[in-house]
């Protein structure tokens, strides 16, 4: 009997209505998350990548019950989050925390940052009242700040310092999962490296599982154990990080990787993939949703949507062509 995963997501759907006109009549739906299943083990980091609008943030928010799915289940610590009564859900929230993209906008500007962090303890009624301030001071040290920083207001701190406090606020509840939604995108590269290293250290120390949502593939490669590539609501490829970056199988993953500009000047004239513009998410093509941008689509792709199928140990791809020969990236560059 194997240990059950920390997080198990089954058949998750999140639909948003598309409204139009003066009276807001519903004219369609966007399937932001369209049948996603995934698991996350204790202490594991799953990187979730994809273009803007692909549903990765919605997925991240839904798995920790910041919003309700239209269908599907989320088992977290063996509990079905969306079947729990409110008081028990609140208790579970302690174990699943969130780090936001822009630390400038996620703190109350009229509250000291120490008070904002302490509030997490107050809400969850953790520790005795008199011990909470000491716990805040401890966690500030842990994330590389001085305890005196507690008495500052958000506008007095830099973006990197605020993101450390964002991490402190999540960490102080001793969670087992943190969803990080683009946690370093708003930061400069030197500060980004500080925060990524901090997350790696804390992850080891606290046995944290991370769901790391990012559009930056190099950052994900640095931090993730496993990666899932999302395209308009579906996971189209998932593999251990090393394997995904070394031997991607899905044409979309290949295009994403080839599009990242290399720092190597010798590669400045490498062909760039021409994917064309992204589709209207309310009107995705039939069959495989990537087929109208795909360089190797066949008639079969228009008829049936490929399911995520294993091709190798821990490596699954949703593509009809993936079992076949490797697709050279040069085939993706147009003239």
């Amino acid at each position: 009997m194997s240990i059950p995963p920390l997080l198990q997501v089954e058949g998750l759907h999140v639909r948003y209505p598309v409204r139009k006109g003066l009276f807001g009549g519903v004219v369609g739906t966007i399937n932001a998350v369209d049948g996603v299943s995934l698991t996350l083990a204790r202490g594991e980091t799953l990187g979730l990548v994809g273009e803007s609008g692909c549903g990765k943030s919605t997925l991240g928010r839904t798995v920790i019950a910041l919003q309700r799915p239209s269908a599907g289940t989320v088992l977290f610590r063996n509990q079905d989050l969306f079947a729990l009564p409110p008081d028990q859900l609140k208790r579970q929230r302690r174990f699943a925390q969130f780090i936001f993209q822009n630390p400038r906008t996620c703190f109350d500007p009229r509250r000291t940052v120490g008070a904002s962090v302490r509030m997490a303890l107050d809400v969850q009624q953790m520790l005795d009242r008199q011990d909470r301030d000491e716990a805040v001071a401890d966690i500030f040290r842990k994330v590389g700040l001085r305890p005196e920083h507690r008495f500052r207001y958000p506008h007095e701190l830099s973006g990197g310092q605020l993101q450390r406090i964002g991490i402190a606020r999540a960490l102080i509840l001793k969670p087992s999962l943190i969803v990080c939604d683009e946690p370093v995108s708003a930061l400069d590269v030197s500060v980004q490296a500080q925060i990524l290293n901090l997350l790696r250290d804390l992850r080891a120390e606290f046995e944290l599982a991370l769901l790391f949502v990012s559009h930056n593939l190099a950052v994900v490669e640095y931090i993730a154990d496993r990666v899932a590539v999302m395209y308009y609501g579906r996971i189209v490829e998932t593999a251990p990080a090393k394997q995904l970056f070394r031997a991607p199988r899905h044409p979309y993953t290949k295009a994403l990787l080839a599009a990242v500009p290399s720092i190597d000047v010798a590669r400045r004239d490498d062909p760039v993939p021409r994917l064309g513009d992204p589709p209207d998410p309310a009107r995705l093509p039939s069959g495989c949703r990537f087929r109208n941008r795909c360089p190797i689509a066949t008639p079969r792709c228009a008829e049936h949507e490929p399911a995520l199928a294993g091709v190798d140990a821990g490596h699954a791809v949703a593509c009809w062509a993936a079992e076949g020969a490797a697709i050279p990236i040069s085939a993706m560059a147009g003239g």
């Binding site: 310092q161 400069d188 500060v191 599009a259 400045r268 993939p273």
Partner: protein, 342 residues
């Protein structure tokens, strides 16, 4: 295929900036955002201007265009465009110069387009104003510009409003507007930062090809070294309002001399290289630009200074010294002439 063109160092530069200073605010709280920048851009040259937020790179770009608004002001220095003194231009000359010779591309294309005008008219506007074309001719010109920047079905798209465009299309429209009058200098401030990576690759290619074909110079302001590697002939790195190093792109991305430039290279995770190895961050943060400190602005964060225990770095600002004909470096600890090794 041409890759790295030799930097045309000889002959008169298109743009020459001398000791430019830009300040914001007054009194003791004055922020010295640009503190004496010297920079030349040759005709047809693509210069990448790299630095982190607060380094003054965007302020420098706006200063060149004289777009600094109160409480900011250009406090000193000279900007020469093709020998003409930009800071001495009358409002009328300035308007004509900006319209004719300069193209501008900003980070957020949607924020720069008029939401209630069809994009065709927005592209046609410079043609109408500066070239005095008729409405019909300007519209046709706009359609062919939209085609040249890769907008599909440009006749129909010209009728669209900005909200009907994707981010990538909107940036293409901005590029079309910027290139409408075949400017001699294009200034692009983080042109692809708001775009997805697949779109970014295509926009960068469009920018590079447009500049190469028309011989347009480009000042490319960015924090992304990958973007610089794809486009730039030369790279200038800014820190705390000053250029700390300036050299050919291959040198700057392979073996730069300044500790800050080296730190930036090591701090960025790279595809296919990371995993086990720990990223080397640059400890600390940027200095307060309203406080004049003696010495090198980077000294408090500098590992090289710490390991060499150099006192001079904290006492005296190093000059931007020419270490090779096309390579300038602002560091006391850098061995001269041969380029620095740390």
């Amino acid at each position: 295929m041409t890759t790295i063109l030799p930097s045309p160092r000889h002959g008169p530069p298109l743009l020459e900036i001398r000791d430019l200073r830009t300040q914001f605010g007054f009194g003791p709280g004055t922020v010295n955002a640009v503190q004496g920048v010297d920079l030349r851009i040759a005709p047809g040259e693509i210069v990448g201007l790299v630095g982190e937020s607060g380094s003054g790179k965007s302020v420098l770009a706006l200063s060149i265009l004289r777009l600094i608004q109160t409480p900011g002001r250009i406090a000193g220095g000279q900007i020469l465009f093709d020998g003409r003194d930009v800071l001495a231009m009358s409002a009328r000359d300035l308007g004509r110069w900006r319209g004719r010779d300069i193209g501008i591309i900003f980070q957020q294309p949607q924020g720069c387009l008029n939401p209630v005008r069809r994009i065709g008219w927005q592209v046609a506007e410079p043609l109408r104003q500066q070239e005095r074309l008729t409405r019909r001719a300007a519209w046709d010109g706009a359609v062919s510009l939209l085609r040249s920047v890769g907008i599909p079905a440009p006749e129909e798209k010209a009728l669209a409003y900005p909200h009907q465009l994707s981010g990538g299309q909107a940036q293409r429209v901005m590029i079309a507007i910027a290139l409408a009058l075949r400017p001699r200098l294009l200034i692009a401030d983080e042109p692809t930062t708001a775009l997805d990576v697949t779109i970014q690759a295509q926009i960068l290619e469009l920018l590079r090809d447009s500049c190469r074909h028309a011989g347009t110079s480009l000042l490319l302001v960015t924090h992304d070294l990958g973007v610089v590697a794809r486009l730039a002939d030369r790279v200038a790195v800014m820190y705390a309002g000053r250029i700390v190093e300036d050299g050919p792109v291959a040198t700057m991305l392979d073996d730069p001399g300044h500790p800050y430039a080296r730190g930036l290279l090591r701090a960025a995770p790279r595809l296919g290289q990371s995993g086990g190895e720990r990223l080397q961050d640059i400890p600390g943060g940027i200095p307060d630009l309203s406080r004049a400190a003696p010495g090198c602005a980077f000294a408090p964060r500098c590992g090289r200074r710490a390991s060499l225990a150099l006192a001079r770095c904290l006492e005296e600002m190093p000059p931007l010294a020419t270490v090779r004909p096309d390579h300038r470096l602002r560091c006391w600890a850098a061995p001269d002439a041969t380029g620095a090794r740390s």
